[in-house]
Symmetry: C2
Subunit: 413 residues, 2 copies
């Protein structure tokens, strides 16, 4: 008999009607013989409403109190969910984080799970109950309520699945993970199976389906995750699984675009040791994360240096860089907010050649200039002018996914 | 140094502005040197909103789940209250019932407090924190959330005061306990001190200031309660205290009227042993509480029997009584919903004479017929036609409270 953790996001429990819909999904699994544990987020809008109340009191509300406040959102949802299951004839018992217990560290508003007590859950399952667990929340060893940060319910679900040795179904408002954003690429396809590593890259590069930490957690404990729609019952979603379960390793699994970065260029920097260190140390001290970095070849003892930061940090970064530029005798500082980062991600890149060259060629054929490049073992990102962002994604999707079969790589395992 | 438990009702924490107002009341006590523990209800409307949600799911929602749901109301309020105190510069720590802990029995939705852990509260107080405790909720020995029933926050406050050896201030939307409802009697006065017993009678007879169970609790542990307005800072409210602290025992402390009962009369009942038992046993089995009972003297082997029940139970009671009436050969059953119970309450009645006679005389002078009478050591209630309810209260207030000084009784202690 399979045990499965079913996690429902805020939209999927956004009204009593939707909770009933979610409950029926759970019941259909139970009737197939699965043992089910439900993990629920707060009803859509609830958490934002609570944050808004707190911010009306103070710009920086006390974080311990914030956790007591925010934890009510999921607590309300699980009680309503359990009541609904009971109304439909299924014995259900809701559990707050501290009742499971889900033990975390003491970092309020972004705690990490340390340990999960499984005895109560196992007892409930063996007595035929459906446990309904509050996502996003835990408790410290000192009985203080904590929360896990945005998207933390995914982590709760994956951690429970790991602790109990279960699969994990993430019910959400999309039908799975796609090869590209279907709003940009009409031909985008749903991915049947994707590895943890690929999913992590896609999530880091702008795909919003899963919280990054929950995928890391799944990878660590080899929890199989099924991301699927809470509204379309029959349709299979996307399975996020260990790499060795994926028979077919395509070169490019998915294509993302991120338009939330800005580029800052320091023009005509004296090309001396310690200059780059000085610049990035100043940014680090201001807690600004730098993403892509490009330094041109030196020319007559001078060089240009470019890097990207998140667009919200850009004005502050520019200010800091202007100060340092003066000290180091650079000519000028230019900020460009109209950039986009397009990326291709796929496990198969490890064992195929010419992928980068093909990407550059596709962009070039479409008249798109590349401002910066960064790569990892399984992804290549190019920084381009924002106005070409959608064109680039469409062209790359056509080249690598729609017509890309010829460079498919067979599983070497 | 005095320790004081300050309880704020739903209206007093009904908005962020009101929470700030309440927090300032607490701070002014703290600045006078008092150690303060706050007990807060849910924000006004919150609990009703949650109940409404649950009832949309099911007419009889599971009571364990109901408690998980309802407990979120106070949890939200205490977090916001503690954040507000911190914003105003006072270190505060909110605590859910299970964090105190407030241990209760296992009767969901109307649990009784069994035990309160005081160590954490005492530590917080001695470290200079203001603990903000969720009213209305507790936890069983098995870590299940319970709630104490309507008005349960009063009980939480009194129980905490008893456990910690503190006074209890109940901040509410009225300025204290009055000799009669000021909306009916413009000359009604605020009572300065009232005994537990008197307060219990007044509360049972329709005065809505305090939950009955919380007064019983206070009486048992001799907790002094100060009922006062959360909006008018300077004004002293009413102290509810042990009888021996009251120097001045007036005959009548207060006058109440209750228009929430109905009278049912069984006409021409054979006057035989066992008939009354049969009738009231049937009502008891249907969980209907009977209040006043009157049986006329027998006449030719027959008698009339009247009793009152709450108006909501009246239709069901009538139905049951009609069945029994047939069996016992009574002539007919008459239900009257238009009745009112006026009562006078006062410790001094114990040691004064003629109070009942004076009450009947006042009613009679005003042309008001008495349908039934019930008495206890410190109260007399008369059932009258509902249309005379306000007239009766005004006349009794004038006779016993406004002109009643001449029969004031001195404290015999």
């Amino acid at each position: 008999m399979r045990t499965v953790v079913c996690k429902f996001g805020g939209t999927s429990v956004g009204s009593l009607e939707r909770i009933e819909n979610a409950a029926r999904r759970v019941i259909s699994l139970a009737e197939k013989g699965d043992k089910v544990i439900v993990v629920s987020s707060a009803m859509a809008g609830e958490t934002d409403g609570l944050i808004d109340l707190a911010r009306q009191i103070s710009e920086f509300p006390n974080e311990r109190e914030m956790d007591i406040l925010l934890a009510t959102g999921e607590q309300k949802a699980i009680a309503l969910f359990a009541m609904t299951l009971r109304k439909l004839g299924y014995p259900a018992v809701s559990l707050c984080g501290w009742q499971v217990p889900i033990i975390t560290d003491e970092v309020h508003t972004k705690a990490r799970i340390r340990k999960i007590g499984t005895q109560r859950l196992k007892n409930l399952l063996s007595e035929g109950y459906i446990p309904v667990v509050a996502g996003f929340q835990g408790v410290t060893e000192d009985w203080e309520i904590t929360t896990l940060g945005r998207g933390g319910s995914d982590t709760t679900a994956v951690a429970l699945a790991a602790a109990i040795g279960a699969d994990c179904e993430i019910y959400t408002d999309v039908t799975g993970v796609f090869t590209a954003d279907p709003r940009i690429v009409p031909n985008a396809r749903k991915i049947e199976k994707i590895s943890y590593e690929e999913m992590l890259e896609l999530a880091s590069l702008g795909a919003k389906v899963m919280q990054i930490r929950s995928v890391e957690f799944a990878a660590k404990y080899r929890v199989r995750i099924h991301v699927r729609s809470s509204f379309e019952e029959e349709e299979e979603g996307t399975w996020i699984v260990p790499e060795d379960e994926i028979m077919e390793k395509v070169v490019v699994r998915g294509i993302t675009v991120d338009t939330k970065e800005s580029r800052i260029t320091v023009v005509r920097v004296p090309d001396q040791p310690g200059i780059a260190a000085k610049l990035f140390k100043a940014l680090g001290e201001a807690h600004i994360v730098v993403d892509m970095i490009v330094q041109n070849v030196s020319h007559e003892g001078y060089t240009d240096m470019s890097f990207t930061v998140s667009r919200t940090d850009a004005p502050k970064a520019e200010e800091i860089v202007r100060k340092v530029a003066k000290e180091i005798g650079a000519k000028e500082v230019v900020r460009d907010d109209r950039v986009a980062k397009v990326s291709i991600v796929g496990l198969g890149m490890r064992s195929s050649y010419g992928t980068a060259a093909k990407m550059f060629e596709v962009l070039s054929k479409n008249g798109i200039n590349i401002m910066a490049i960064s790569t990892s073992e399984i992804k290549i990102s190019c920084l381009i002018d924002e106005k070409y962002a959608e064109l680039a994604v469409r062209a790359l999707h056509e080249a690598f996914i729609e017509d890309g079969e010829e460079i498919k790589v067979e599983n070497e395992g």
